[in-house]
Amino acid sequence: MTFEALPDRDGGPTVLRATGELDVAVVPALLPEVPALVSAAGSVVLDLSDVTFFDSSGVRLVDLLTRECDARATPFRVVAPPGGPPRRVLELVGMADAVASDDLAAAICAVHSPDRAPRRPQR
């Protein structure tokens, strides 16, 4: 499992990329880092394209990011390709519609056009 912030591009969103297995053995250690990662961001994308396992602790990570971004009125999307483990779980818990995009391009578009991505996700 890796979890990193990609280098910022001018005017672009802060992209956080996770790879490998996001489970209860690794996620709790990541959570305290989240506020600092997004505090200065204009918009945030969490890229889960290369996540091979995703469970309720991953949901917790997404949930925390959603709250942090919402508190700062920062647009936020999750990249969770259809058919992949994160998308399946986000669908199961009813969060996919609110936060999930199919790929990175769609997610970046979404955080730049608030009309297409409601700033305040519905639970």
Binding site: D23, V24, F53, D55, S56, V59, P85, V93
Partner: protein
């Protein structure tokens, strides 16, 4: 009477009247007495010239003897002289009456016993010197023997303190060992409170090689070859008459102790190398295959410093062919550990589907001819066909494997036996035996330390092993192994190394344990996915069941184990063919804690929702902990 023959005779001569009054004395006796003739003759009685003891003896024995027998001979007495007491030997005879000496007069001859007495005193002194020297030699021997048989630095320290208050005769004693870098460590005391003796100043000891007295105690520097290894301080008995501490002996013991500490440090160093070697050899990752599960344990012998030559190993000898091995190399220490390592590698190199257990042992015979230290090693070796449960096994001088069926009584596998490796009387072709395992059957391999004890026969040991294992077929493997070593080795006084390997053949049963730290959670998911694939499950079924089980395991680990590292969650999966012919995957997740219905607002609550969404049926049972049973249809697919 006074002539030269009388006066210059080489012995003292006297004549006495009946009551002992001196009638005459020659010059010799007067010279001894240092008195004038007029002072003695006519005025003194012989008994007045004797020391107190002699005076009494004269009155009670000698005077009556003279009266009755008329004489006495060679009686040892002491004369009181001007320069102290003079030991003498005295003979006396009453005169029968003659021209010169009338009857009733007693003639006395006195010989000085000064020379003889001095000789006797010297003899006595020599004897006490010899006794002291013997006592010293004994004390030194005791202390040296104790020091040389002690193992490790702690052992030497204990032996030295025991010797100090034992044969070395101290009332109490304190020992400081030097720590590299930090000077003297904390004092270890025997017979007195720690800290009651003032810690020595290292600088004061630099040049001192001998024991010395300081502040009413004896301080003994313990020099090794190159460094001061420690300081011993002894408090003598202070009651009157107590023997003082013997400085030369303590100096010698100090030298021995310094060298013993040198040796102990070296020994611990080499022991830790051997331990490291053995640990690295035993730290094997078993092959990852859901068709079996294994638990092992190694418990070093009572002398923690000495590694033994026991080992266990588990590896794939071919496709779907699992090799299991437990062996025991003769001897201890680094040599045994490295011989064990070589033999273990040889087993791996020789094993293969075309070899089989019997031929493998025969080939190892040739190997141990080259590696002397591995000669007479014993070995139990088995190969399990993971697909069929067919087990081939052979034992070279090793205790028999124990088969623990899922249903039925445990039994020892007494076939396939031959002598230890390299034994002179070995057969050219070693035999082997076969047994077919059923699903859930277990096989126990172990070294003799588990069953052999001085206070019971080997057969009793085997019987106890069978009894201990009986009824454990459902318990987690790790638990059985720990329980086994605990109860078999209870109250043990002489401890050998013990190596235990317990294998469970699951067949179509999947079984794993996940500890509280969740470090094996990922591996368990992968193994479960592989097992589901091997049962024909399609990709969606694999993903859904693995995710549901992972959530259930996380919940059980969090609430059931509460971080207790000694507890584990057990996950077991089977394929259940229902009456209508449909195949279900049934997974049970068991922990020994209390189930708590999670708060739906946090992720565990989401986990529960995820499980419910993924499986067809979920059941929670509370018997001896918590069991979650998940049931899902086994969708078959090609991928």
């Amino acid at each position: 009477m006074s002539d030269d023959r009388w006066d210059d005779a080489p012995c003292g001569l006297l004549t006495l009247d009946r009551d002992g009054t001196v009638l005459d004395a020659n010059r010799t006796v007067l010279g001894w007495l240092g008195r004038e003739r007029a002072d003695v003759v006519g005025g003194a009685r012989l008994q007045d010239l004797l020391a107190v003891g002699g005076r009494i003896y004269w009155d009670t024995h000698l005077a009556p003897l003279l009266h009755v027998d008329g004489r006495f001979d060679e009686v040892a007495l002491e004369l009181v002289t001007a320069s102290g007491r003079l030991p003498v030997v005295m003979s006396a005879a009453a005169s029968p009456g003659s021209e010169d000496v009338p009857a009733g007069v007693t003639r006395v001859a006195i010989h000085s016993a000064w020379e003889r007495s001095r000789y006797e005193q010297e003899l006595r002194a020599a004897r006490s010197v010899a006794e002291l020297s013997a006592r010293r030699t004994r004390a030194l021997q005791h202390a040296t023997a104790a020091l040389s048989s002690a193992l490790g630095v702690d052992g030497v320290a204990a032996a030295l303190l025991a010797a100090a208050v034992g044969p070395l005769g101290a009332r109490s004693s304190t020992l400081w060992l030097t720590d590299p870098g930090t000077g003297l460590g904390a004092g270890l005391a025997e017979g007195e409170a720690a800290g009651s003796a003032a810690a020595p100043v290292l600088g004061d000891l630099a040049g001192r090689r001998e024991a010395f007295v300081e502040g009413g105690r004896v301080v003994v520097p313990l020099h090794g070859q190159s460094t001061l290894q420690g300081v011993l301080s002894l408090r003598p008995y202070d009651d009157p008459g107590a023997d003082p501490l013997d400085l030369p002996v303590l100096t010698a013991v100090g030298q021995q102790a310094g060298l013993a500490l040198d040796r102990a440090h070296l020994y611990e160093q080499s022991a830790s190398v051997a331990h490291e070697l053995q640990r690295s050899l035993l730290a094997i990752a078993p092959p990852d295959d859901p068709r079996f599960a294994v638990a092992t344990t190694y418990r070093p012998g009572v002398e923690m410093l000495e590694v033994g030559g026991d080992w266990h190993d588990i590896f794939l000898a071919g496709d779907g062919l699992l090799a299991l091995c437990v062996g025991d190399v003769v001897g201890r220490g680094l040599a045994a550990a490295s011989a064990m390592g070589q033999l273990r590698s040889a087993v791996r190199a020789v094993a293969g589907p075309e070899a089989g257990p019997g031929r493998l042992l025969s080939r190892l015979d040739r190997f141990v001819e080259q590696v002397e230290a591995a000669s007479m090693a014993t070995l139990a070796y088995a190969e399990l066909d993971l697909a069929t449960g067919e087990l081939r096994y052979a034992c070279a001088g090793h205790p028999p494997p124990l088969l623990v069926p899922a249903d039925g009584e445990p039994r020892l596998l007494w076939d396939g036996r031959s002598p230890p490796l390299g034994a002179f009387t070995r057969p050219q072709h070693r035999g082997e035996a076969r047994v077919r395992l059923a699903e859930g059957d277990r096989l126990l391999l172990y070294t003799d330390g588990l069953v052999e004890r001085r206070d019971r026969t080997l057969d009793e040991g085997f019987e106890l092993l069978r009894e201990t294992v009986t009824g454990s077929a459902d318990a987690p493997l790790e638990e059985v192994v720990q329980q086994l070593t605990r109860s078999m080795l209870r109250d043990e006084s002489t401890r050998d190394d013990v190596c235990v390997l317990l294998l469970s053949w699951n067949g179509s049963v999947f079984e794993r344990h996940v500890g509280a730290d969740l470090s094996t959670l990922s591996a368990t998911r992968h193994a479960l996915g592989g097992w589901l694939a091997s049962r024909g499950a399609d990709r969606d079924t694999q993903m859904d069941v693995v995710l549901a089980v992972s959530e259930a395991l996380a919940n059980a680990a969090e609430h059931g184990l509460r971080g207790d590292p000694n507890e584990a969650v057990r996950v077991r999966a089977v394929v259940d063919r229902r009456a209508d012919g449909r195949d279900d995957v049934v997974v049970t997740v068991h922990d020994r804690g209390q189930w708590r219905t999670p708060d739906p607002l946090i992720d565990r609550g989401r986990g529960l929702r995820i499980i419910e969404a993924l499986v067809d049926d979920m059941l929670v049972r509370h018997e001896q902990g918590t069991t979650v049973v998940l049931r899902s249809r086994l969708q078959k697919g090609s991928s």
